[in-house]
Subunit: 414 residues, 2 copies
């Protein structure tokens, strides 16, 4: 056992831990016979165990003090589990339909016990690779983003509550630094862990030599580091979402902190764009993926358009509330309110496009790639898909302020 | 005595306090005969005592739990003294030539003992009203702003150090809320404590009905609330600066927190603009103030131009340092560095103009006015001066992005 009571668990020691923890053992009806425990962590950072008994189930997620996919050479504070639990609870309070319930948190063990998202829940990214349509995805994700972002922003919170929360989440600095490095820095320089499909070597080099792009990414990075706009999930890609045809659940907010809203929106939209560009690599005689590509683009459009509608509706509903940015005796006519909200949403839209582009670029020439492309066996085909994604992302980052609607962005692809 | 050991002092009880406090009594060489103590607080918030003995001197500043110029009906945390002391020490470390030394801080008493800025030091605002030129003012203030802002920004600090400091200063939230209210909100609505020269009633009403202006001030307020760019003084008007012909000392940073740099720069430049517009009200047969107005405008130009030069020089000197925003292996050519700095400074310039305009407007139609205008006895003349200042400020806030240089701004006055 390490200092402060931390010890990494395995399938065996986990059983003892559960037996000694009433909040967990009670979820199993204290029935331990035939308990099934399976380690399923396929993310980059943690260990995840599914625990299923005869009378109940849950998931155990334990953070370890390094980055799992790199190894002990890249240490990473296990305190991230504290911020993940804190955020799961806060997001769950705001949006219970789309966030798994937390049953138990043990800070010294960096361990969270939470609802097991039972089959047929799968990681959204895997569904997208298989070509499954999720008709409620845009509706659900716009719900999640609109509620979690609105209610933690100064449009709803008082300055007092906002600064208290900002201060708390400043503690998650190591995870913020990791994002700064892998999203905003490493893709734009020669870096130890960068990699790319060999055919893309020249494209990666072009990114590193693109001054206009590097000026844009500096602006986005500055916003990421300085702007405490709302409690953001911080890693809202399609691997942080579990889905069935009628359920959408957002998990893994260990990168959460008070940052720019556009970083979450952009992460989700950017990863849908990545999925779009990967589809040609998954086409076969049985399915040319043409209809599916259209569905993805429609989902991108709907996600932003529904988000914008829901977010501004929340704003309107709470315009006389606790928020201190737009007092109703200053923004005192429907006309002025419309102007103010239009200006705010336009700026948020452009932030989202910029961050979305940054999230795409980092998945193509940075350290962590996405299965959407990695699973394309034909390397030359994969490179073609990736190159189109990269060129689109570069254009999007540089030209984002020229787009007025998401439909224009989607049209720019076709 | 109140809870937590706080008791407001007066001239008498202060002597006992000093005798019981070695850090203070030693400054007087433990000589208390003929001790002179004078209360001189002419600001809006606190009590200030000058203490002069035969062998030494200092100033005692004590915060009380309400706003002095309003009374006990407007409570204000005396914890502000903690953030003032913290900031004085930090600014003093970074820029010792222009910040008075702190000798003693007593958190439970909300009391700071610091260097007495002996005569002929006077408040800069009073010197400007009298028409005194300070040939080193631009040089000194650009030093102060460049060093305090650069070294507390992410251009110098690591993300880790920055977030730690941001978190600490989130505690000064009540003072931030006060600024939000009196600078960014009250001037744009009917508010209890607003006042203006009677001739300006219609102008004040026009501010409250100016939608374009209210859209701009929302953007500035949002930046003030959300952007943790650097440790800012938070109240850097000409009443927070003490001067002689060769000394410039910045005092009273109780509003300090991590906010947008432009708020400090704008506060200083905006108050110089206010001084400029007030000069016609101080002209008499002996001095038409024409040459003085030219000196003020020259000082405005020099302050920004020297600030820009010094700030970018510091950036260049520390480009391979601890800062994590612009890594030298990404911004890896003099050409790209020049572009990146140019973009950053352009944005900071526009922020400074916007905040400067906001600080002007609030002094004309908000709660706290400035002696520059208040001391003009002829009400009609005062109103003329104030109206010109107000119209300039409104133009500046709305048109700020059109200005490329401070010289263009100054030219727009003439």
């Amino acid at each position: 056992m390490e200092a402060n009571g931390f010890r990494p668990l395995d399938e065996k020691s986990l059983v003892e831990y559960i037996k000694a923890t009433p909040a967990l053992s009670s979820k199993l009806g204290n029935q331990f016979d035939g308990l099934l425990i399976k380690e399923v962590g396929d993310g980059n950072l943690n260990f995840v165990y599914i625990v299923v008994g005869s009378a109940g189930s849950f998931v155990i997620k334990q953070a370890i003090p390094y980055i799992r996919c790199i190894g002990e050479t890249w240490p990473m504070t296990k305190e991230r589990a504290y911020f993940e639990a804190l955020t799961l609870k806060e997001e769950g309070r705001l949006c219970p339909d789309h966030v798994p319930e937390v049953y138990h948190f043990d800070r010294s063990m960096s361990l969270i016990g939470m609802r097991y998202l039972e089959p047929p829940h799968i990681i959204l990214r895997k569904g997208l690779i298989t070509g499954v349509e999720y008709p409620l995805l845009a509706e659900h994700m716009s719900d999640f983003m609109a509620t979690t972002l609105f209610f933690t922003s100064l449009l709803y919170l008082s300055t007092t509550d906002h600064k208290r929360a900002v201060s708390e989440f400043c503690g998650n600095v190591e995870l913020c630094r990791l994002t700064e490095q892998v999203v905003f820095s490493d893709p734009y320089r020669v870096a130890q862990y960068n990699r790319c499909t060999p055919h893309l070597d020249h494209d990666a080099e072009a990114v590193r030599n693109d001054n206009a792009l590097k000026l844009e990414v500096a602006e986005l990075k500055t916003m990421f580091c300085e702007r405490t706009q709302a409690l953001i999930h911080g890693d809202l890609h399609t691997g942080s979402v579990m889905v069935t045809s009628d359920s959408t659940q957002v998990i893994d907010p260990e990168f959460a902190f008070y940052g720019p809203m556009g970083f979450d929106i952009g992460a989700f939209l950017g990863n849908l764009f990545l999925s779009f560009f990967s589809q040609d690599g998954h086409a076969d005689q049985g399915n040319d993926r043409r209809a599916y590509k259209i569905w993805i683009l429609k989902t991108i459009e709907e996600t932003w358009n529904l988000f914008e509608k829901k977010f501004t509706t929340l704003w309107n509903e709470h315009k006389d509330g606790t928020g201190e940015l737009y007092f109703p005796d200053i923004y005192n006519s429907p006309e002025l309110q419309l102007l103010a909200r239009g200006k705010y949403m336009k700026s948020l839209f452009h932030d989202s496009l910029g961050f979305g582009a940054a999230k795409m670029i980092r998945r193509l020439v940075g350290v962590a790639h996405v299965e959407d492309f990695e699973s394309i066996q034909d390397v030359s085909k994969r490179a073609d898909c990736e190159r189109r994604a990269l060129n689109f992302a570069k254009m999007l980052m540089k030209e984002r302020r020229g787009f007025k609607t998401i439909n224009q962005v989607v049209a720019a692809i076709q």
